[in-house]
C-alpha cells in the first residue's frame, strides 16, 4: 500500500508521487473522476496500475492517499 502524494503539475495534469520510490509520474487514466467521486483503477503514463476505493466527495489536491497495487 504505497502512500502517494497527488498534486497538479504546471501543465494542469495530476501527478502521482510515491515518496518512498521518488517516483513521479503523470496519471494517464482514472476510472472515476466526476463530481460525485474520484478513484477506482488508476493508470500511470509508464503503464503501471494502482487501485483506490473511490472517494466521495472527490478529495482536494494536493493530498496524500494510500493506493493498492493493481
Amino acid at each position: 500500500m504505497p502512500k502517494v502524494m497527488l498534486r497538479y503539475s504546471d501543465s494542469g495534469k495530476l501527478l502521482f508521487y510515491i515518496a518512498k520510490k521518488d517516483q513521479e509520474e503523470e496519471i494517464a487514466k482514472v476510472e472515476q473522476d466526476d463530481d460525485n467521486a474520484w478513484g477506482g483503477a488508476v493508470e500511470l503514463t509508464d503503464g503501471s496500475k494502482y487501485y483506490i476505493d473511490p472517494i466521495s466527495p472527490p478529495p482536494k489536491f494536493p493530498t496524500t492517499l494510500s493506493f493498492k497495487k493493481a
Binding site: M5, R7, A19, Q23, D46, P62
Partner: protein
C-alpha cells in the same frame, strides 16, 4: 575529437567496463548511459540511487553529511551538535562555505563545531546523560542561540540512544526548539537520505511552530528561496534579483537562514526551489499542508535566469511581470559585455561535470551561454526524477554517469579529453596532474557566488582564468620539451 556518436559512447562505456569482474560490470553498466533525449523516463536507461559496489572508489557522502552538512548546518542562529565521536563534526566544519552575516560565537554559530566527543564509556553506557548535560552547557555559554539540533552520527543509532526523549525534555526546560535528527551515516546509500531525514525533522519539529501566531504580516508578494545554501554568497545574489523585481523574500533555506525564517515560511505565497534534490520533500509537504505552490528555478547563466525570472513573474500580477522585464533589461547590457569578453576565449571548449544535487543539469545553461559544450555529466546521489530533468538539458549521445567510480571517471576523461572538468576536491588533483584544467563545482573553488547575474560575471571570469591559464602549457619539463622539439626538427 568532436562530438561522439551514440555507438562511440556505447563502445566507450563497454571498454571501461571490461576490467570489472562480470557481476560488477553488469551492475555498473546500468549506471552509465549515452543520453537519449527521446526517452521520457530516465529509469528506462539509467539506474540511480543504488548502493555503491564494495571495492570501488565512490565519491558519495553519508546521511550525516546530507543533514548536518547540507540542510541544517547553514541555519546560522541554531547550534548543531554533532552527536557522537569528534571526527565527523570536525572534518565537516565550515568546509562548505555557507556564508552568513552575524557575530560568530555570539548570535550565529555557522562555522563552529559542537560535538559530544563520544568516548568508549559513552558507547558502553549510552550518551543520553552526556547529551543532556551538553545541551545545558551550550545554552549557558551561548544564550543567544535560537534552538539546538542534535545531528546523530553512526554510533547513536547502533547503541540505541533515545535522543528524542532527551530533546523533548530539554526543549521544555529551555523553552527553545531542540530537534533530534536521526541522520546516522549508515542510513541509505548516500547523502540523499540525509536530506530527506533532515526535511522530515524540519517538518516534525519546526515548521508548525508559529501556525497560530499571526504577528508576522505577510504581503501578496512573499516568496522564499528554498534549497540555496549560500555557497560563496549564492543566495544573496539570487535574492537581490527577486527583490528588484518587486517580490519580498521572507526566508532563505538554509544558506544565511534563521530559525524564525523557517518558522515563518508557511506564510509565503510561493516557494522557489533551487536545489530540487535536497528540499523537494519539504516543498511538497508545504504544498499539501499549507497550500503553498512551489516551482523550480535556475539562476545559472543569463539565458536560464531570464527564463526563470519570467516563469516566477508569471505566478504574480502585472506589477511583478513588469518588474521582471525591468530586471532583465537592466542586466542585459552587462551580460552582453561579459559574453563578448569571454566567449571568444572559451568558445567550443568541452566540459565534463560530476557533482551532486542540482548542478549537473543547472550549470549546463551557463556553459552554453559562454559557447561551451557539456559533453558528460553525472550525479553523486541523484534519483530517477533528477535524471528525468537532466536528459532534456543534455545533448544527444552525450555521456551520463551515475555514482561514477574513481576509475571510470579517469578512463572517461582519458578517452573524451575534455577541456575542463568540474567536480570536487577529491577529483581535483588527479585531473590537474593529468594536465586537464579543473574547477571545483561544489565550493566554486573558493570563489563565488555563481548564482544570478552578478554570479555569472564571476563564473565566466573563473572559467577563463582556469582554462586559459598559461600553466597548462608548462606541464612538461623544459629539457624534455627541448628534446621533443629538436627531434621533430630533425625529422
Amino acid at each position: 575529437m568532436s562530438t561522439m556518436t551514440r555507438e562511440e559512447t556505447q563502445a566507450l562505456i563497454q571498454e571501461v567496463l571490461e576490467v570489472y569482474p562480470e557481476k560488477a560490470a553488469k551492475d555498473r553498466a546500468k549506471h552509465l548511459a549515452a543520453n537519449d533525449q527521446s526517452v521520457e523516463q530516465s529509469k528506462k536507461c539509467i539506474t540511480s540511487n543504488r548502493k555503491s559496489l564494495p571495492g570501488v572508489m565512490t565519491i558519495r557522502g553519508c546521511a550525516y553529511a546530507g543533514s548536518k552538512g547540507v540542510v541544517w548546518g547553514p541555519i546560522k542562529d541554531m547550534i548543531h551538535i554533532s552527536h557522537g565521536p569528534v571526527g565527523c563534526g570536525q572534518y565537516s566544519r565550515a568546509g562548505r562555505r555557507n556564508y552568513y552575516v552575524g557575530m560568530t560565537g555570539v548570535n550565529t554559530f555557522g562555522t563552529m563545531n559542537f560535538t559530544s566527543d563520544f568516548q568508549e564509556k559513552d558507547i558502553v553506557f549510552g550518551g543520553d546523560k552526556k547529551l543532556d548535560k551538553l545541551i545545558s552547557e551550550i545554552d549557558q555559554l551561548f544564550p543567544l542561540n535560537k534552538g539546538i539540533t542534535v545531528q546523530s552520527e553512526c554510533p547513536i543509532g547502533l547503541i540505541g540512544d533515545d535522543i528524542e526523549a532527551v530533546a523533548k525534555k530539554k526543549g521544555k526546560e529551555l523553552n527553545k526548539p531542540v530537534v533530534p535528527v536521526r541522520c546516522e551515516g549508515f542510513r541509505g546509500v548516500s547523502q540523499s537520505l540525509g536530506h530527506h531525514i533532515a526535511n522530515d525533522a524540519v517538518r516534525d519539529w519546526v515548521l508548525h511552530n508559529r501556525d497560530n501566531d499571526n504577528s508576522f504580516v505577510s504581503t501578496p508578494y512573499d516568496v522564499t528561496i528554498i534549497g540555496d545554501y549560500n555557497i560563496g554568497g549564492d543566495a544573496w545574489s539570487s535574492r537581490t534579483l527577486l527583490e528588484e523585481m518587486g517580490l519580498r523574500v521572507i526566508a532563505q533555506w538554509s544558506g544565511d537562514g534563521t530559525l524564525a525564517e523557517m518558522e515563518n515560511t508557511p506564510k509565503a505565497k510561493l516557494n522557489l526551489l533551487h536545489c530540487y534534490r535536497s528540499m523537494n520533500y519539504i516543498s511538497r509537504h508545504m504544498e499539501e499542508k499549507y497550500g503553498i505552490p512551489w516551482m523550480e528555478y535556475n539562476f545559472f547563466g543569463p539565458t536560464k535566469i531570464e527564463e526563470s525570472l519570467r516563469a516566477i513573474a508569471a505566478r504574480f500580477d502585472d506589477k511583478i511581470k513588469a518588474g521582471a522585464e525591468r530586471v532583465i533589461a537592466k542586466y542585459k547590457p552587462l551580460m552582453e559585455e561579459i559574453i563578448a569578453k569571454y566567449k571568444p576565449r572559451l568558445e567550443g571548449k568541452r566540459v565534463m561535470l560530476y557533482v551532486g544535487g542540482l548542478r549537473p543539469r543547472h550549470i549546463i545553461g551557463a556553459y552554453e551561454d559562454l559557447g561551451m559544450e557539456v559533453v558528460g555529466t553525472g550525479y553523486e546521489f541523484a534519483h530517477n526524477d533528477d535524471y528525468d530533468r537532466t536528459m532534456k538539458e543534455m545533448g544527444n549521445a552525450t555521456l551520463i554517469y551515475d555514482d561514477v567510480t574513481g576509475y571510470e571517471f579517469e578512463e572517461f576523461v582519458k578517452k573524451i579529453k575534455p577541456d575542463l572538468i568540474g567536480s570536487g576536491i577529491k577529483e581535483k588533483y588527479i585531473f590537474q596532474k593529468m594536465g586537464i584544467p579543473f574547477r571545483q563545482m561544489h565550493s566554486w573553488d573558493y570563489s563565488g557566488p555563481y548564482h544570478g547575474y552578478d554570479g555569472f560575471a564571476i563564473f565566466a571570469r573563473d572559467m577563463d582564468m582556469t582554462l586559459n591559464n598559461p600553466c597548462w602549457g608548462k606541464l612538461q619539463a623544459p629539457w624534455k620539451k627541448q628534446a621533443a622539439e629538436s627531434a621533430s626538427q630533425a625529422a
